[in-house]
Symmetry: C2
DNA sequence: CGTTAGCAATCAAAAGGTGTGACTGCTAAC
DNA sequence: GTTAGCAGTCACACCTTTTGATTGCTAACG
C-alpha cells in the first residue's frame, strides 16, 4: 500500500474511472473512458493501462467481459489526491444559508437543521455527534429548595450547558440545610469534569455522609447527565440510503444495526482522530459499514471542537461535493452563531 | 365491510389461515389446513369454504395454483375477534422484569429500556412516543438571577416535568426587577397550558412591556420546550425490520421515510383515539406503512396517559404476542414506578 | 518501444423452452 | 352438504440459446 509511482496518464485514467463510476455505478469500459476523457489515445492503449492498474490493485473486474470498478485502494487514493474543490452552485449555497435564516431556539434545533440541510444538499444520510460532554468541566451546582421535601438541582458547566432535576427527599429539610449542602457540594465538585465526578471516592463519601440522600441523588443526576450526553446523536435522511442500488438487503441491515445503537454510530463518526476530514471506506476491524463510505468533519466553534458531522453513502459517493457541503455548512453555522443571535430572529 | 355473518366453520378456517400465515409467510393451501387444523373434514370442503371466503374479500389468491393469504380485512377481523390471551413464557416475563431490575436514572433512561425490551421480546421494531406536553399545565415559572445579566428560568408543570434555561439580558437587572417580573409572569402564565401560552395576545404583551426582553425570552423557551416535547420519540430494533422477507426495498424505504421524520412517526403511534390498543394494518389516507402493521398501546401512569408504545412489523405479525408483551411491559413499569424508586436502585 | 487495429474469446444478462409439483375448481357420486 | 377424483393452471426451477458488451492478445505500425 506504499505510494507506488503511477504515471501521469495512469493517474488520469484512474481518476476517470472513479469519476465515471461515481455517477453511473456500472463497470467502466475502456471505450467509455476514451470517448469521455481521452479522445486522443486509442481504447487499446487504455486497456493496457487499465490492465496494469488492475494488477496494482486499484481496479477490479467483476468478470472477464465487464469493465472495471474502483477498489477501496482506488477510492482512498482518489480521496487523498484527486478530490478537488467542488464549487457549490449559488442555489446550493443559498439553500444552506437559508436553512438557518430563520428563528431558532436552541442547540438541539440548530443541530437538527444542520443534519437536515447536509442530508438534503448531498442526498446522503447525515449524522451529527455532539462532543462527549464528559470532558466538560462543572462550574457550579445550585440547589434550590422548592419545599421541604423537594429540591431543584441545577448543574452549570463551563460551556454554559446546564441540566436540572427536581429530587424528592424522604426526610424533610430546611433552607439552611440546603445552603450548607450546596456549599459542601460545590467545594467538592466545582472545577471537576463530569467524568471525574461519576466515580466518587470513599473520602468524599465520608465527608458527605451528613447529606447522604442528597449527595447520592446528585451523583445519579450526573451519571444520567453523562449518559444522556454521550448519546447526543442526530440523524437525517435515513431513507436516502435506499436510493443507491448497491445498497442491498445485507448492507441495509448492517446500516440499520449501526444506526440502531447510537453509541456505535457515535464511535464511528467521532473516532477520536484529530483531523479535519476523515473518510472511512468499507468495513474494517474498527467498524464501518460494508460497501459504504463515511465522511466526517470536525466542527469547531470559537476554536473549540463541538462535535462531528458526517455523511453515510455508497463507496462511490461524491466525495468532493460532500466535503464542500460539510465545509460550507460549518462556515454558515460559524457566522450565524458568531452573530450572537442565539435565540433571536436573524435579520 | 359490514359485519357479515360468517359460519362458525368459516371463522375457524379463516383463523387457521391467518395463524398459519403468521408463522410461515407462504400462501396456505387447503391441504395444510386439513392436516393441521381440520382432520375431520376433507380438503375439498375446505376448498369450497376458502373459495367463499375469497369471494367475501377475506382471502387473496396470489395465482390460481397457489394457496391463499389473508387480506387486510382478514387481519382486521382477526385482531378484533380472534386475538386471544397469549401467555408469555416464564422466561419472557422474567426477561421483561429483569430489564428494569437495575438502577435507572430518569424518564429517558426508562423509556429507552422500555423500547429495547419491547423490541427484544417481540422481535419487531418498537417505538415509544411520550405524550405531547403542549397539553400540560404550567404550574409555576421561577426566575433566578445568576448575575446582573443572566437569569435562570425554570419551568414547572403539573406533571412535575420541568425545563430550564439561562438567558442573557442586554440590560443589567437587579434582584428586585427579577422578583417583580417573576410575579407578573406567574400571574399571566400559571394555570395555562404550554399551547395557550405559545401564542400570546396583544393585551398581555402590553402588560409585559416593562419586562419585554425577559418576556420574549421566556416565550421563546416555552416554544422551544413545546417543540422539543412534541418530538420525544424513542425507537429500538430498527434493524429487525429486515428480518421479515416481505419487507422489500420499497417497503423498507417507506418505513425509513416514516422513521426519518419523528413527527410523522409520532402521529402514527399516537393518533389521538382513546382506546387501549390500536392496530393499523397497511397504508391508508391517514398514514401507515404499506405491507406493515402497527400495533400501539396507550401507556398510563396514575390514571394519566403518559404516552404510547408501539410495534412496527409485517402485516402477519404475531398480534397476540405483541399485545401481551405491550401489556406485560406496561404492568411491570407501573409496579416499578409505583414502587417509588425513582432514581434509586430497586432491591 | 509505445501505440494501435483487428479479431477471437469470454461471460453476464436476457430470452425462450420444458418439466415439475403444488394447488385449485369442477363434476359426479355419496 | 360432503367428498373423491381428476383435469387445468401456473409459479418456479432448470436448462439452453442468443445477444452484446468488453476484454486480451497478436501482429503491424511509426
Amino acid at each position: 500500500m506504499s505510494i507506488e509511482k503511477l504515471s501521469e496518464r495512469k493517474q488520469k485514467i484512474l481518476k476517470a474511472v472513479v469519476d465515471e463510476y461515481i455517477t453511473s455505478a456500472t463497470p467502466i469500459s475502456s471505450g467509455e473512458i476514451k470517448s469521455k476523457h481521452f479522445d486522443e489515445i486509442s481504447s487499446a492503449t487504455i486497456r493496457n493501462e487499465l490492465s496494469a492498474l488492475e494488477e496494482m490493485g486499484y481496479l477490479i473486474q467483476p468478470h472477464t467481459s465487464a469493465g472495471r470498478i474502483p477498489s477501496k485502494k482506488a477510492y482512498n487514493l482518489y480521496v487523498e489526491r484527486f478530490v478537488e474543490k467542488h464549487p457549490l452552485s449559488k442555489k446550493e449555497v443559498a439553500f444552506i444559508e437559508n436553512a438557518f435564516n430563520d428563528r431558532f431556539n436552541e442547540i438541539e434545533d440548530i443541530v437538527k437543521r444542520t443534519a437536515k440541510v447536509i442530508s438534503d444538499v448531498t442526498n446522503y444520510t447525515s449524522v451529527i455527534v455532539l462532543k462527549n460532554i464528559n470532558k466538560v468541566v462543572l462550574k457550579e451546582i445550585k440547589l434550590i429548595d422548592l419545599d421541604e421535601h423537594t429540591v431543584l438541582v441545577v448543574i452549570i458547566t463551563d460551556s454554559g450547558i446546564i441540566r436540572d432535576k427536581v429530587i424528592t427527599l424522604h426526610n424533610a429539610v430546611n433552607s439552611q440545610y440546603i445552603k450548607d449542602a450546596n456549599a459542601m457540594i460545590n467545594k467538592i465538585f466545582a472545577g471537576k469534569t463530569v467524568n471525574d465526578v461519576k466515580s466518587p471516592d470513599k473520602l468524599i463519601e465520608s465527608e458527605m455522609r451528613e447529606f447522604r440522600e442528597l449527595y447520592e441523588s446528585i451523583i445519579a443526576i450526573l451519571e444520567s447527565y453523562a449518559d444522556s450526553c454521550e448519546e447526543s446523536v442526530f440523524m437525517d435522511g435515513q431513507s436516502k440510503f435506499l436510493e443507491y442500488p448497491e445498497h442491498d438487503r445485507e448492507t441495509t441491515k448492517d446500516f440499520l444495526s449501526v444506526v440502531d445503537t447510537k453509541e456505535k454510530l457515535a464511535e464511528i463518526i467521532d473516532d477520536g482522530t484529530d483531523i479535519e476530514f476523515n473518510v472511512k471506506i468499507g468495513k474494517d476491524e474498527k467498524g464501518g459499514i460494508d460497501k459504504c463510505a463515511i465522511v466526517t468533519a470536525k466542527y469547531m466553534l470559537h476554536g473549540k471542537e463541538i462535535g462531528h458531522a458526517g455523511v453515510i453513502g455508497p463507496e462511490r459517493m461524491d466525495y468532493s461535493k460532500v466535503m464542500s457541503v460539510l465545509k460550507c455548512v460549518s462556515h454558515t453555522l460559524d457566522e450565524i452563531i458568531d452573530g450572537g443571535n442565539n435565540g433571536k430572529r436573524i435579520e
